[in-house]
């Protein structure tokens, strides 16, 4: 029943490796983009606040499939933007990462913003009173405390991101979901086995993330 694993016809591990890479690059990018967006949303500059709010509300409510297709059809096929990926395979991977960052960044931003709300105003006031600049207050005082408060929610974002990488299949990135689709077509008699293998694969990726970050969340919590 699990012949498809040993037949050598499918590279299941390879496909999951692409999933892991998609997740890693997107996670790092989303974290940076999310911090920038959160910075804009709490900034004293009205224009930045307006941009942050408009961006988050638009992108967060757009289906991910649309964003990723937009990256591929709009940026790549229409405008020829390949993000430095020479082959169309490479370009597809990079565009998928771009779409995932654009989307996941909004969730990181909102998680962080709720974290920022847990930091008492007095913390920022004391920091300003010392003569720290807006960016120093954010970087040294507010964000570190905000992060500690939202490790749990950020873990959920990471888990959702891991699963969302499957949307990259719609533009042909050879990650786990694309291989699964191919296998389901070829191995119709082992339908449930194929499903099982891929479901297990994702659980193996996400479960440790949740456990590890749950432990971290407890360790870094700020005591008041």
């Amino acid at each position: 029943m699990f012949d498809f694993l040993t037949s050598g016809q499918y590279d299941v591990l390879g496909a999951f490796w692409v999933t892991v890479q998609l997740t890693l690059y997107s996670a790092i990018g989303s974290l940076i983009w999310g911090i920038l967006l959160a910075g804009m949303r709490v900034s004293p500059v009205p224009l930045m606040r307006a941009f942050g709010t408009a961006y988050v509300n638009t992108v967060r409510n757009t289906p991910l499939t649309l964003l990723i297709l937009g990256c591929s059809l709009g940026l790549y096929q229409t405008l020829g933007i390949n993000l430095g990926g020479d082959t169309s395979k490479e370009a597809g991977f990079r565009l998928a990462v771009l779409g995932l960052i654009a989307y996941t960044g909004t969730f990181v931003c909102e998680a962080l913003r709720s974290g920022i709300n847990t930091v008492p105003v007095g913390q920022a006031e004391a920091a300003r009173a010392l003569g720290l600049s807006f960016f120093q207050v954010l970087r040294l005082i507010v964000l570190p405390q905000a992060f500690r408060a939202v490790v749990g929610p950020l873990a959920n974002v990471l888990i959702a991101l891991t699963k969302n990488t499957t949307v990259a299949a719609t533009i042909g990135v050879a990650e786990a979901a694309l291989l699964m689709k191919e296998m389901l077509e070829n191995e119709a008699d082992a339908l449930f086995a194929v499903f099982g293998v891929f479901a297990l694969g994702f659980v193996l990726l996400t479960l440790p993330t949740g456990l590890l970050l749950g432990w971290v969340a407890k360790r870094v919590a700020v005591k008041r």
Binding site: R128, L130, L132, Q136
Partner: protein, 261 residues
């Protein structure tokens, strides 16, 4: 302005030569509430001014305008002869010269006591690590909490936290220290340990603006008591005069309430 031999008389536009903080004709509103009304107040170098008055009279707001945590609608505030800058780097530099101690301590919760006292030195004054460390330790020694240096604020008592907060402000070598009800959030048995530190600062010549209802402190450390009510300065006097013989009815009424509880 060039720094070359400007005579005292020329500088004088903002007030007497040795006035460190000068508020003139300051007004501020919170929406419809006129929280500061035509405030004129000059604080001389080395002077200790106690601000007293009923809750909601604008004492905290007054304090906070001096380092521009609150903006003002009209009037001027000068520090050491210079008007408060409104934004950016200049403002940050001004704030570094004005120490502030809050009612709720506001120690940085994710940093140790030592890091709290080092942070401003490292990031604002750009002091090197070793010097900042040494200074932080000696300040913690001075306020009597050196043994707690590696703990986090939440592990300290309120009195200890407030003394660390004072050390944190002193680490910037401020020209003036603002205290907004520094002992109001403390259990009674911890009030004295904080007042003693403030008392010592006052006797060393620090310029201080202290919002407090601690009459013992006002009597022994203050040069002047400023009584506020409804956003106005109603009365200014020496502590002796003010507590034994207040002139205004508002002050008499207020004192009778806090004296006989």
């Amino acid at each position: 302005m060039s720094g070359v031999s400007v005579t005292k008389d020329v500088q004088d536009a903002a007030g007497a030569a040795d006035d460190l903080v000068v508020l003139s004709n300051v007004n501020k509103h919170f929406g419809a509430l006129h929280v500061l009304q035509d405030i004129d107040l000059s604080i001389a170098r080395g002077e200790v001014v106690v601000v007293i008055g009923p809750s909601g009279s604008g004492k905290s707001t007054l304090c906070r305008t001096i380092n521009r945590l609150e903006t003002i609608d009209s009037g001027t505030i000068t520090l050491d002869g210079k008007e408060l800058p409104s934004e950016g780097k200049e403002l940050a530099r001004l704030r570094a010269d004005v120490g502030m101690v809050f009612q709720s301590f506001n120690l940085f919760a994710h940093k140790t006591v030592l890091q709290n006292v080092m942070l401003g030195q490292l990031k604002v004054r750009k002091t090197d690590q070793a010097a900042a460390h040494a200074k932080a330790l000696s300040l913690l020694e001075r306020v009597g909490v050196a043994s707690q240096a590696d703990k986090y604020p939440a592990q300290l008592s309120g009195g200890q936290q407030q003394r660390v907060a004072i050390a944190r402000a002193l680490a910037m070598e401020p020209k003036v220290m603002l205290f907004d009800e520094p002992t109001s959030a403390l259990d009674p048995e911890m009030i004295n340990e904080v007042l003693e530190v403030m008392q010592q600062l006052a006797s060393e010549g620090m310029t201080m603006v202290v919002v407090t209802h601690e009459m013992g402190f006002a009597r022994s450390a203050a040069n002047r008591v400023v009584f506020m009510a409804d956003g106005k300065i109603v009365e200014e006097a020496t502590p002796e005069q003010f507590f034994s013989n207040p002139r205004s009815d508002r002050a008499k009424d207020f004192l009778s309430k806090i004296l006989h509880h």
